[in-house]
Amino acid sequence: MPRRLPAALVCLAALAFGACSSGGDDAAPSTTSTTGAATEEPTEELTLELVSSVQPSVSLDIPEEPIATAPAEASGTHLDVFALERQGDSSLVLVLGLRNDGDAAYTIQRQFEDSTLKQQHEGTPDYLASGITLFDAENLKRHLVYLDEAGGCLCSVVGTKSVEPGQTAYAAALFPAPPEGVDTVTVQTPVGAIPDVPISDA
């Protein structure tokens, strides 16, 4: 059943729409800077290009260190979660990174894509982060990325890009939130899963 999100919440969600990487990225331009205060964890500001027409671009502060990490399918690559935040009562924003610790460049194409979306909605762009899901092991539910009223995925474009050794490519998506009391979920992607990721409040 469709839900209605207020514009302010959509704008917060839009923080996660774009895709960028910390260098070596042939996709949208991005800027980075360290903005953390002395008493807080240092953060990195990313300017992201959005898929949705709701917001053309946004900026987002993410911590320098991920809150959860796990190996990905390709040798030398890892999945890092930088944010999994409740936004209001109904949504979660995920910021995910694919880190290349290998010796060779890693090309992202359809690794994070839900190919069925293109079959369901004509005009869906390629290489979206639409295949990322959240698994609520307690309630045995799988949370899929929000779709807007036009069938557009509330997520970023991930590929096509080459992630050089030592670099990270970022993806983001907005999900319906699990019930109150669910403190962790497993982030699942086509190239690996990160179990028991803690959910924080915005």
Partner: protein
């Protein structure tokens, strides 16, 4: 008769949501229109919340497919330290349903040779069987592996490209509750 300011606000709102009305805005005082736009209520966006029940009920059996990536590292048949937590909901569901038997089915994607995948699926099913048996003493639990022979999604796209999303769905352990 509506006053001019109210009319300006209405036209501005129409212009915001319907480009064909933009020409009408040009006929109005620009400052006045801009001022009225600030009073417009925030735009509301419809979104579809997609939450899928992992449990697939049937007439005589209930299936609970769990992604293998959630329970195992790639290529491994050893449960991860987090696997018990990942299976907590499954254990609760088994206790609630009270099945006569439970059958654990292992499946792989198409990466690797058939023989290796067959063995991997059998070992993964056995690992989950052992974990469930430890938490559900006295319950009959079987384990079987199918290798890559029973995919639920294509491992490749029609053009022959790799299909990571399909392979992810195929790497799974399905817990079957038989009534």
């Amino acid at each position: 008769m509506p006053d001019r300011r109210a009319l300006a606000a209405l036209v501005a709102l129409l212009a915001w949501s319907a480009p064909h009305a933009a020409a009408q805005v040009d006929e109005l005082d620009a400052d006045e229109v801009e001022a009225r736009i600030l009073d417009v209520e925030p735009r509301i966006l419809d979104v579809e919340a997609r939450i899928v029940d992992v449990v697939v009920p049937g007439a005589d059996r209930t299936e609970i497919p769990i992604g293998a990536d959630v329970l195992f590292a790639f290529g491994s048949a050893d449960l991860t330290p987090e696997a018990r937590q990942q299976l907590a909901g499954v254990v609760d569901r088994i206790r609630a349903d009270g099945p006569s038997t439970v059958r654990v089915e292992g499946h792989t994607d198409s990466v690797g040779d058939d023989a290796t995948n067959q063995v991997l699926s059998e070992r993964r099913a056995a690992a989950v069987q052992a974990e469930l048996a430890g938490q559900l003493p006295g319950l009959a639990i079987e384990a079987v592996g199918f290798g890559e022979t029973q995919p639920v999604a294509p491992n490749e796209l029609p053009n022959g490209e790799d299909h990571p999303g399909g392979r992810q769905q195929n790497r799974r352990v399905t817990i079957v509750l038989v009534r």
